[in-house]
Symmetry: C2
Subunit: 193 residues, 2 copies
DNA sequence: AAATATACGGAGGAATCCTCCGTTTCACAA
DNA sequence: TTGTGAAACGGAGGATTCCTCCGTATATTT
């Protein structure tokens, strides 16, 4: 019996925090161009840190992705919150989709991360897409409540379609096409009147 | 100057043909469940053939994909030809999209193959998506000519969107969602009247 | 300063990719 | 048939990446 709580856990070590930051910076740098399939060894090397240290901080590739892109996901979620107050719900929806595409356009690595997060066995960063789907779902729900769009498309479905549309393509004209298709998607969801 | 054609090229060797077949069969079997990232060593092993033989017949992973899925692509192209004669052009379009999704639903490995074919540096099986985009483009063009859908979406763009929407997802309800989104896409493309 | 919990680095086994090269087999002609 | 050279074969092995194990080093606490 006695203390099932082992210890009053001490303060985290300074070198651990420092290395975590270094790894995140290195990962951002390495994933920047969309090379999200870069070797983790390379990331560790770039960070000037042993490979074991990387794995200790981020047990899986997805965990690293999640940490790297958490901030951007946060931003998108916040944006959705902000857009909830906009008068025109459909316009808000369109704006959010555009923001999502924009972000993806700059952080191409994130798309792959998202894809992996959805693509099977990744319970870890599935949370990332869950949150995005939730944010998008809220926007959809509002437009649905106003009877402006059909009600049988979930945030998750829409997000998958959007991400899917972005995931391919390396060409420069990439963004425009994605925006266009996103708009088409919204057009298709609007109830005819 | 006689024969610029070097030789009256002899008949291909029997063992070469046999091994090619074996490799294709093995690949079909191995890729069946969508495990299109299976190791090529495994495919060679399954075929009971040396790894070098695999690489000799299919220099790249994409070349193997293309060979495996050529038949299905042929079918879709043929279907598009057939649907060109259907009275309702938009209905034909919808039917083709559905067929594409159906095929993908059974041969999940093909999606990954397609994705890879689009995803950068794969000149080899880019042909596969080119042909599909062409087939789809023809259907679109017809509907455009009849002024039934907007004219600024290309076959390639639409295919990318569709494939993207399919590429994620492992859940059983997968197909229905994809069909729904494809319909939404078409709805969004129809000119309002 | 000593104790100890915590973190570090890198060696190294396993898997995969792909090439090189010596050996074997087949198609064709004599 | 049999000989011969072109064509195909197999698998060893170097390179890369993944991930774990474990001995060493260091920060925090007493």
């Amino acid at each position: 019996m006695g203390r099932t709580v082992p210890k009053a856990s001490r303060k985290p070590r300074a070198d651990a925090l420092r290395n975590r930051e270094r790894l995140l910076d290195a990962a951002k740098r390495v994933f920047a161009g969309g090379a999200s399939d870069a070797s983790l060894d390379a990331v560790a090397r770039e960070a000037g840190v042993g490979i074991a240290t990387l794995y200790r901080h981020f047990p899986t590739r997805e965990a690293l992705y999640e940490a790297v892109y958490r901030r951007e996901v946060d931003e998108l979620v916040a944006l959705a919150d902000g857009l909830a107050g906009v008068p025109d719900s459909v316009a808000g929806l369109r704006r959010w989709l555009r923001a999502m595409i924009d972000l993806v356009a700059t952080k191409k690595g994130m798309v792959a991360a998202l894809a992996i997060s959805v693509d099977a066995k990744s319970a870890v960063s599935a949370r990332m897409s869950k949150r995005l789907a939730g944010a998008l779902g809220a926007l959809l729900d509002r437009a649905i409540a106003e009877k402006r769009i059909r009600r049988d498309v979930s945030g998750e479905e829409m997000l998958l379609a959007l991400v899917g549309m972005c995931i391919l393509r390396d060409q420069p004209d990439w963004r425009e096409g994605a925006v266009k298709m996103a708009d088409v998607l919204v057009d298709g969801m609007m109830v005819k009147k």
